[in-house]
Symmetry: D3
Subunit: 278 residues, 6 copies
């Protein structure tokens, strides 16, 4: 794996990649070059045969991600000053392009063919929620402080939180409250509403457990695992009849895999199966 | 604000409107002129710069709303006698027009540009659930008795409950049970399944807390708050890709607000920002 | 009711049908003739005036259903050997036809006009989850062991689990974890995430309680009950505006039922109403 | 029928209404009070038992409608000056409300339950196209000059043309050319691409023929005619499977009409059937 | 191929099936056992390796199909007498089931995996249009008289015409006119609006030409042909982005066919390729 | 503008770009590096303020584009040999990635913010149709020979033709015939069915006229033109209600442009307006 400027990418277990945002001195806040590189990382892992499951966390003790780097952002298109010689329609075009580009970077976690598990700790504000909702599974340390912070800086969150969070947790009433009030919620509440799947005592334990879960998933047939992620995301966005039909078409190729007989055989022989690269 | 016949509309805090169904002697049951007036109230608040968040409750100690006024309804199109000279197709046209009109009135809470918080207590049967699901956030007193009562009078609920409740709580299994059995459920169950966001000891406390939450929301940028409500409702009904795109288009205008710099500045100066009317 | 080879169909209460998978010595695992017959059973009950609510369970002490009969399946299109003289595209056509046919059988529980309550106990693996998600309400015994087992045999579940489970429980994070890891989860967890509506001590109690709930529903107007199921399923798959409109069209005929006055009258007279067959 | 300020509403044949924009000295250009009144006219006709088909035309020799009254519009929200004390986000809110309100008025032609036939002549620019696409059938005089004029005043047409025209004519390539170039096209071209159903020599003949067609439709069962319009509009916006299902639900009431036996009987007896009001 | 009661099924060319409605003395009008058998015919051909393209026509000189057999229908659920002991809601349930079942039979032409070409002549009224719109390509003799006749018997067409015809011809204005007026239109008009692909002098020539076209299609790779039909039907009902994605998933299996190299090789060698059965 | 390897990009008129596929000796057939570069060209033009409308043509006398370079393709993922060590499921993953990537390149013409006009001549086979359907307007020389050639090489077209062509021409019957038969159709037929907007005598005239049309569009407000393209594409894929709503949101920013007053003023002064860059 190439090395990156803002991310540590390691392989703590066979077929398990660990992507760590590496800007701890700034609480892992993001500015544009970071989300561009993030997309590069996940687009590569998406097709890399060495990764079958991915853990995503933040470096340092204090924050998974504190959101946008406001200072940097204050010079960018979202909250920065607008070119006065442009009329509001032209500025709108610039903003739209910028937001669509930003969204595309964060969506790289969702479209990554391999499951992504967020291991969250400490501060997880604003963009952190957008990032988390684009992953597949979230676990966190009990010290985590979440907040969909955007309304507090005059913004309706536009990089994914408002679009994905309701479909992650299912409950729209809770989402509306936290999105409209920007109030901080902790690990226990996140667990209760189903925003995270598990809460652990420390950051270290959180990452360890996330790697374990990723490792478990990585032992399964990659054909089955990647199909499962793909079909679940498709199902989220389509009526049941449509997604049943899509599943049949998807599996018309996937069920021709040798992994099925390999899995059945190793099941009978009580050993861990080995699957070809994908 | 104009005064109304069936509703008390007050402003208990700056930018916070409180709409109270005012027919306590009939347990706040509704008949046609009431839902027509309800729409009038919310259509006006939707565009009123004086309201940035709205609390919706029922007058009196006993009921938030006991549903349709069956006696009045028995003379109307839904459960009233049908004109015998009409054939079933013609009666169907009359019913369809009537139901669509009724739905439009209740949907005024949903399409209201400002967040609406239901503060519920006592009896909340039938139409009460339709009303609650059209609001954004629900809180209730611990004495609240909820019931999607319609099947008990031979009706599949048609003013919103069956359409919105599954998307409010996320869980379809629970919705099916309460909708098919019409059984009463209490505040604790409502909290557990996420139908309400919080439970308080008394009606007074419930309304007070709802006003507090509304007041908190009303201190935020109205551009951000109204965008957040709008985008969340859009997202509920569209695939993620579609709603991300919509969000970018929406924010291409909204991010040109002066509220962002006002919010950032007051954040740095640790004071409450003031935002222009909207 | 005709008698069936793989299913016991009884009527434990008035208007309540009980369908029991009857292959306990094989842990109620399924092979093709079974799901074909299952469709036959439910298509018939769907239009039978004798059934207003249905309980679905598995015979024997050990399993609601242990999934596909792998031995039988090993000779069929899903995991069986492929015809070597065919190219991958032709095999894909065969698989697609087979999966679509299989899905159609399981979907007969969902399109059945009457509510279906799954009473689950013991082992509930793989296809058991597909079956459960196609019912309306699920209750289980505390000994139940659930697992979306498919990834463990190299398959992305394609008979309904990935399409319906997220819409049953609402929470996509939990669904992804159990679908990607294939880990077993018990009754308490199923209750907590809303996959089941209630947990009972024993299988017997579970079935008894399911029959009671079915019986309660069967006392209601069948026009209202069947409309409620139909509209809730429609609403799951459509935007709120669309489903409101559909509801108005549906009810333009349904509200012409005599059940409404029958229900109102018996309500006033404090007696159980009787409704005509449907 | 009440009398209106900007529209003549007459009944030239039994069950046929004729709505005429009546501002010929200004080439039937529209300003806000006109489209508000237009909605009032069509909302009333939609439910009036006296109208079973409607012709819509423009008074005077020169124009069906020359578009927005630019002078009036220059003072309104669309192209008028913006309040300088408002930021671009707040102005956007005002514009959005205004456009949505304007759209709702024009859409009254589409949601009118009775078929609407546009009889077009002379100048038909800008808003004229929006109006035409909201009707069901269009016929025109050979002197008609059509133009989707909006780009020539710096606007992407937002009252219906861009949304409905592609679905009216089917051909997106032609729509893009006329919408992007704003070039004028005549009656023959409109006929060739299917924008109009027929071309007649003069305005008088056009209106006469439109009334004849309306009259023919008005002799049919209003249950069948209104169902046909409703289902065709639904089908335009939904997949075939969905619209087939909707049609079955719609007709479950409509097929209970006495019009069917009336139509069959009069068919056998070779006389014109009479149908009850609707 | 089994022999059928109401249909002649022959194989005039290799891989070309010809299905002929065989009730010429009744102008090929349909009653229930016929559409049930029609489904049987097409469901079988859909999976038969002997058919790669299908021609559908009507026996006799006078009619492709004159619609419903009104005499038979007068005893059925659509236009027959209703059971007086049932209320309108219960009758609606019966009608809905009946219409859905009827639709499913006609839709067998659309879901048939092989392309279906309608060869039409003489009278083609009512149900004939429903049948035609469910095929893929239509050709007709110049004597053909088409009519969406349903409104003339008090019915909004509910077996496919209103749902598919607008998507077949693209032009909604023309569809509305012929559906609302029930007027007869001839072969030339059908050609002009694109309802038929070609017009021939006689019925014989029409069938011959249809068989030739079917035969041409039958010489192509069945993997490519069946994929093309499937994807085109999917595309009709979905946004472009969705259908592009679906196409990629579909072709992930289909492009593994040996037909591609067979086609390329025979192309180079200037001979007609032979493809394996499908 | 940077120079490209496979494309000539020139600016024949102010704000008009001309992109020419430049591989005339190979009949402008495409191989992978070409479509990757094509995306680069259009992604850049999409945001370039120097281009307001774009003409797309092919170099040389003989062909607009003869499709895939079969020789090159025979080594790629679509029709090339598959890695034998991979099972069919793994090969499917490789194909799916490849096709999705290929589609994304061709879709760059559609998502380009500026209108694209295809000027077609000579051979236009296979991929040529995919390219054409991704543009906004098509004109051609009378010598053009079109063919959706893919079925002739055993492939269901997967780069856009099957998804976009039905929505371009509106008529599904004609699309099915040409897609299933792969027959060549000429300029006159393309004009008649609306696949092209105009036919000219020679290639030179075709390009000249396309540049003129582009130039006309380039004189309009770029805010209006780009909004019109965007909204028309959105409308193609959404119900009318949805697209009306989207249009209002889009125009809430766009109507704040100074182009409106500039256009109105220059209209009154009978001169060509000048608009700021976008």
């Amino acid at each position: 794996m190439a090395s990156y400027k803002y991310f540590n990418v390691t392989f703590p277990k066979e077929y398990v990649a660990h992507v760590e945002t590496n800007r701890p001195d700034k609480l892992n806040s993001y500015f544009e070059p970071m989300w561009l590189e993030l997309r590069e990382v996940f687009d590569k892992l998406s097709e890399s045969p060495d990764a079958r499951a991915i853990v995503f966390s933040g470096a340092g003790d204090r924050a998974f991600c504190s959101g946008l780097d406001v200072k940097a952002a204050a010079e960018g298109a979202i909250i920065g000053p607008k070119d006065k010689s442009f009329d509001a329609a032209r500025i709108a075009t610039q903003i739209r392009r910028y937001v669509l580009g930003f969204q595309d970077c964060i969506s790289s976690l969702e479209r990554c063919e391999k499951p992504v598990i967020a291991a969250v700790h400490g501060i997880a504000y604003g963009l952190a929620i957008d990032l988390c909702t684009a992953t597949d599974i979230r676990v966190c340390a009990k010290d985590t402080a979440f907040s969909a912070k955007e309304v507090d800086i005059g913004i309706a969150a536009d990089i994914g939180t408002l679009n994905r969070l309701p479909k992650v947790v299912g409950n729209l009433g809770w989402v509306k409250e936290v999105a409209l009030s920007a109030r901080v919620f902790g690990a226990e509440e996140a667990l209760r509403v189903g925003f995270v799947n598990a809460v652990y005592d420390t950051k270290e334990q959180t990452v360890t457990k996330a790697v374990e879960l990723a490792s478990l998933i990585a032992t399964k047939s990659p054909v089955a695992v990647q199909g499962t992620k793909n079909i679940l995301n498709f199902s989220r966005d389509h009526p049941v009849k449509d997604s049943l039909h899509y599943t049949a078409v998807w599996n018309s190729a996937a069920l021709q895999t040798k992994d099925i007989s390999a899995a059945l055989l190793s099941g009978m022989e009580k050993r861990v199966p080995r699957f070809d690269k994908l």
